[in-house]
């Protein structure tokens, strides 16, 4: 009996101690996250707060290497996104939710032992240590490959794992408005400086170039490039030959869109040359008045005949080239002109 009582007491004390440690742990974590939203782990904290039961909270821990000595280009952006989630959690989640999920980070420089203990040799990695997870078990890993690592994806991962919904609030990104504001003020400044000669605003040639550039940009599928982000060109792994044109109608490479845009532009220029040749011919009769209004035609001091023929050659050659590029993508298209 006598030996039993202290034992029981000791057991009770241990239970109590553990009970306390759980409360203490939570308190400890709450203190740690009071000033900053994530816990930076060293070995002690790590053992105590993450790997030791009892816990009634989940830990979301990112393993990363932020020191400049380690070559890890995506660690920094992943860390930033992680911070956004942690901050959103800190400021928007309810009191009880904040007791349920804590965010932490292990930097390779601070605690390489933890990396060894977890058997990790890559970074960044995001783990979820569930409340019931015992010391030796492998935690749930978030798949950055598939889900990506932006804040929304991390938020979704946390919600899936812990059922704590975090409303991700991204601090507004001021770069775009600032750049636009700078650009606009620059433009306005230029306008103000040149306020005595605002003629260029009424310069139709300039507006013509702007509008044509817009049409060529969109007709050559730059919007598709912007949305889908294809590679510039593809190198054949077997022959090492670069190919600029993708063989399918559903896909395009950036290089080929440039080619196509330029071809469109050259055909249009050819047409304009042909027309200018005729205009020039008519303009001569009209005492060059037309010419002064039209600075472009004064460029064409070439004889009208030559200009017309050059234009025609432009149209034929470049349009046939366009057709042949099209044919190389659209298999079975039967018509061609000049080139096959």
């Amino acid at each position: 009996m006598r030996t039993l009582l202290p034992l029981l007491l000791a057991l009770f004390a241990i239970c109590l101690a553990q009970q306390q440690t759980l409360d203490e742990k939570v308190q400890n974590l709450a203190d740690l996250t009071a000033r900053q939203s994530i816990v930076k782990f060293n070995m002690d904290k790590w053992k105590n707060l993450v790997r030791m039961q009892p816990r009634n909270y989940s830990m979301i821990v990112m393993f990363t290497a932020l020191s400049p000595g380690v070559n890890c280009p995506i660690c920094k952006p992943a860390y930033d996104e992680f911070m956004i989630v942690a901050n959103s959690h800190r400021y928007t989640s309810s009191e009880s939710d904040r007791k349920k999920v804590f965010f932490g980070i292990v930097d390779y420089e601070d605690a390489p032992q933890i990396f060894q203990q977890m058997n990790l040799n890559t970074a960044p990695i995001l783990y979820h240590f569930g409340a019931k997870l015992s010391a030796k078990k492998r935690p749930e890993q978030m798949d950055f490959q598939r889900q990506g690592f932006d804040a929304d994806a991390i938020g979704r991962f946390v919600q899936d794992q812990t059922e704590v919904h975090i409303r991700v609030i991204r601090p507004p990104n001021y770069t775009a408005p600032v750049v636009i504001a700078l650009f606009v003020s620059l433009l306005l400044g230029m306008l103000y400086v040149k306020r005595n000669s605002l003629d260029f605003l009424f310069n139709r040639t300039m507006w013509g170039f702007v509008c044509m550039a817009i049409t060529f940009i969109f007709m050559s599928g730059q919007m598709w490039n912007h949305i889908r982000g294809p590679p510039f060109m593809i190198t054949n792994p077997n022959t090492k030959e670069p190919s600029f044109i993708h063989g399918s109608t559903q896909f395009q490479l950036i290089a080929e869109t440039y080619i196509v845009g330029i071809l469109y532009a050259l055909v249009a220029v050819g047409f304009i040359c042909v027309n200018e040749a005729a205009d020039q011919a008519n303009g001569k009769d009209k005492k060059n008045q037309q010419k002064k209004a039209n600075p472009l035609s004064s460029l064409f001091s070439i004889p009208a005949n030559t200009l017309a023929i050059v234009g025609l050659v432009f149209i034929c050659v470049f349009f046939s080239f366009l057709l042949s590029v099209f044919r190389s993508k659209y298999r079975g298209y039967p018509y061609s002109f000049l080139f096959s």
Binding site: D143, Q145, R146, D152, D160, R204, T205, W207, G208, C211, M212, I214, T215, F216, F218, M219, S220, G221, Q222, M223, W224, I227, R228, T249, F251, Q252, E256, V260, G261, Y264, A265, V267, A268, F271, V274, N275, A277, A278, D279, Q280, A281, N282, K284, D285, N294, P303, A304, N305, A308, I309, L312, I315, F319, L322, F326, Y330, Y333, P334, Y335, F337
Partner: protein, 762 residues
């Protein structure tokens, strides 16, 4: 003197005659080239949405217009139903109903289906005429004829208006062009009459297609641009204000639009420009009546305050919920990543993908290369109405780049500007410099020359017309003799340009015939000998449903086939192509992607009797449900993230596959089981293993599929459509449904146990 006027008037007569003849020919060619599908297959409604439009039209013709407006369709979106009258643009149905009524009262009885099938080709001719009128106002009658001929055959427009494709776009492009013509006309004349006509035409457009938002933003943009360019005139004031007031009131008469014109952000720019126009008008009025000092304080101060106030009021209204903010579909046009994140159901539609350059070239061909030239000359010789086409072209080319389906709005602009480009060149080059007069004789010469190309009547007539028109319009102005471009060069250039036009005609015909004339209800393939095989599986299955199921049977399928089931099988569907209720669609997606017992629960809750899947593995049809399955999973995951997880359907290496490495969830989901049930026993080719999927190109992952809760009801000839029946499970309270074991050894045990219980009871 008299002789000259006589020749003038006869010339005028000839010009008018030629114009009419050419437009009639353009109409005819446009109509004829859209009939490929009819000649090859039959007079049939195409694809998906047209089936709903046809069904609605049929309902309207049978029950009358007012019954149609109040139509509650209990055969769709079971058990919710759909208020059809208030959720469709009725213009299409009313148009074909009206044509049907006119034909009927002329004692010319045709079935409403024929009216529906031929509506779009007929309207393509009207579009050509509207384009002619618009281009005539913008540039010249010659350019107008070019534009009319272009739009009649341009593949970008044909794609949506072949015979049988009975959809809103078919009539909407006509309404669009006609509204633009009337707008330009009213701007030119500044008359209230034209503006009112424009508003009426706009009303027709609103009743026909949701794309009317493009008009109600483009016209204010034009007005704004004119004000900014300092081209304000009282004509603009009269035409815009009368157009805006009438158009807003008229558009609110369409039930589906309702109060949107005053309550959504999409319509607010028009209102803002309306307000601005009043201020500008007041400014012009006051300028001559007060001193400069007063003027400056009044307007610079007043404008700033008013502008700021307008912005504040707008945001207050949006914040207070009186004005709806911009819709998601609108955002997705500007922020191109928006739809993918927020509205997966929009992103899943192939029409909403961005446009590759190939589609641009495919749909526009030479006109794509020439239309910047027309744009160039419109900018060079800008006037009030040409500002409009410039804005139209630049905005439309942007929208077409973002979304494939908006190629449709770009095509008219391209045709107009390419028409201007070509006519500009031909006006200069087809003019013969030797003879100033005697144009008619000369034109007949050219006519004989050009008669060899019988393939393309419209091109020929285009050339003809310019021969005639240029003496009228240009030859008077130009002195003619000493032009520097020599006659030979002129001839060569003209001939080569005509060759390009011929190439366009040939291209347009090829594209129409090969790419845009498939009903997709009936499939066609060819054997090695070149014989055509018609695969009519869809109609076979729908007919089976119509004949062999109860009248109130509920059919579950993916939403793509909802309209077809309702239209052809006349049975109740759970979801259809009107994707108004995402959670309902997600529920169907969840049923398809769960295992059999979970799916059975959902199906019981939804009262499903039959399930229909499309399976292309036997014939190699790539548009089947297995290929769409990932979208079902994604949409289901959006609503039920706990039960459905996309990654569970991938192989270990993260690929989407139903082959050897397929995941367990994939192999047990309802869609997999229904698609591949008994497929393992078949051999598609003599040297292929059993269960070889032709579409995916590999042997499927699991061949012995047993079905517990559903049974196969019907499979069509080519396995394209497979119909399953939900079993009514026996009412046995002692044995729980979920515990019925599925696999071999356990099953044997279970049977023994059951036997024991039975004997014990006995």
């Amino acid at each position: 003197m008299t002789s000259i006027t006589a020749s003038r008037s006869s010339q005028l007569g000839a010009t008018t005659l030629l114009t009419i003849v050419i437009l009639a020919l353009a109409w005819f060619v446009g109509f004829a080239s859209r009939l490929f599908a009819i000649v090859r297959f039959e007079s049939i409604i195409h694809e998906f949405d047209p089936w709903f439009n046809y069904r609605a039209t049929h309902h309207m013709v049978q029950h009358g217009f007012y019954k149609f407006l109040n139509w509650f369709d209990e055969r769709a979106w079971y058990p919710l139903g759909r208020i059809v009258g208030g959720t469709v643009y009725p213009g299409l149905m009313v148009t074909s109903g009206l044509i049907h009524w006119i034909l009927d009262s002329l004692n010319f009885h045709v079935h409403i289906r024929e009216v529906c099938v031929f509506l779009a080709p007929t309207f393509s001719g009207l579009t050509a005429i509207a384009t002619y009128l618009l281009t005539k106002e913008l540039w010249s009658p010659g350019a107008g004829l070019f534009a009319a001929c272009f739009i009649a055959i341009s593949p970008g427009y044909t794609s949506r208006s072949v015979a049988g494709s009975y959809d809103n776009e078919g009539i909407a492009i006509f309404a669009l062009q006609f509204t633009y013509y009337l707008w330009v006309k009213s701007l030119k004349t500044g008359s209230i009459m034209w503006a009112s006509l424009c508003a009426l035409s706009y009303f027709y457009m609103v009743s026909a297609w949701g794309g009317y938002v493009f008009i109600i933003n483009l016209i204010p943009l034009h007005a704004l641009a004119l004000i900014v360019m300092g081209r304000y005139s009282s004509r603009l004031f009269v035409s815009y204000t009368s157009f805006y007031c009438l158009a807003t009131i008229l558009s609110m008469q369409v039930p589906f639009v309702g109060f949107q014109p005053v309550r959504t952000s999409e319509h607010m720019p028009a209102f803002g420009v309306f307000g601005l126009l009043q201020i500008v008008a007041l400014m012009h009025y006051a300028r001559n009546r007060i001193t400069r000092q007063q003027f400056m304080t009044l307007f610079v101060g007043g404008l700033t305050i008013l502008g700021g106030l307008a912005v504040v009021v707008y945001f207050a209204l949006v914040w207070g919920g009186y004005v709806a903010p911009f819709s998601g579909r609108f955002y997705s046009l500007w922020d191109t990543g928006y739809a993918k994140i927020h509205i997966p159901i929009i992103a899943s539609v192939s029409e909403h993908q961005p446009t590759t350059w190939v589609s641009f070239f495919f749909d526009l061909h030479i006109t794509a290369a020439v239309f910047p030239v027309g744009l160039w000359y419109c900018i060079k010789k800008v006037n009030d109405e040409r500002v409009f086409i410039i804005l139209y072209a630049v905005s439309a080319v942007y929208f077409a780049g973002v979304m494939v389906r908006l190629m449709l709005t770009l095509t008219p602009a391209v045709c107009v500007l390419a028409g201007i480009g070509f006519s500009y060149t031909f006006e200069k080059y087809l003019k013969d410099e030797e003879t100033k007069e005697r144009s008619s004789a000369q034109s007949t010469n050219t006519k004989d020359e050009k008669l060899y190309d019988k393939a393309a009547k419209n091109v020929k007539s285009r050339v003809l017309f310019d021969n005639v028109s240029c003496p009228v319009s240009v030859c008077n102005a130009a002195d003619g003799e000493e032009t520097a471009v020599s006659g030979n060069v002129r001839t060569v250039i003209s001939i080569i340009l005509v060759i390009f036009l011929l190439m366009f005609v040939v291209h347009a015909t090829y594209v129409t015939s090969n790419a845009y004339s498939h009903p997709s209800v009936v499939l066609q393939s060819s054997t090695s000998n070149g014989d055509r095989i018609i695969m009519d599986d869809f109609r076979e299955a729908y007919h089976w449903l119509r004949e062999n199921t109860a009248d109130d049977a509920r059919i579950m399928s993916w939403w793509d086939y909802g309209y077809q089931i309702a239209g052809m099988a006349n049975r109740t569907t759970l979801v259809d192509n009107n994707t108004w209720n995402n959670s309902h669609i997600a529920l169907v997606g969840k049923a398809m992607s769960s295992n059999e017992s979970a799916a059975y629960e959902i199906m019981t809750e939804l009262d499903v009797d039959y399930i229909l899947v499309i399976f292309g593995g036997v014939i190699g049809y790539s548009g089947d449900d297995i290929n769409k399955f990932l979208w079902m999973v994604r949409i289901a995951q959006g609503e039920h993230p706990k039960d459905i997880r996309e990654e569970n359907y991938f192989t270990a290496s993260g690929e989407y596959s139903t082959g050897a490495g397929a995941s367990e969830t994939m192999l047990n989901c309802l869609m997999y089981k229904m698609s591949y049930y008994r497929f393992g026993e078949t051999r598609v080719g003599y040297n292929q293993a059993g269960g070889f999927d032709r579409t995916r190109g590999y042997v499927i992952g699991k061949k012995d599929i047993t079905l517990e809760y559903i049974e196969e009801a019907y499979t069509t000839e080519n396995w394209l459509v497979r119909i399953y029946k939900r079993k009514k499970l026996p009412n046995r309270p002692t044995v729980k449904e979920a515990t019925i074991p599925i696999k071999g050894k356990k099953a044997a045990q279970g049977k023994n146990k059951k036997g024991v219980i039975r004997t014990a009871k006995a």
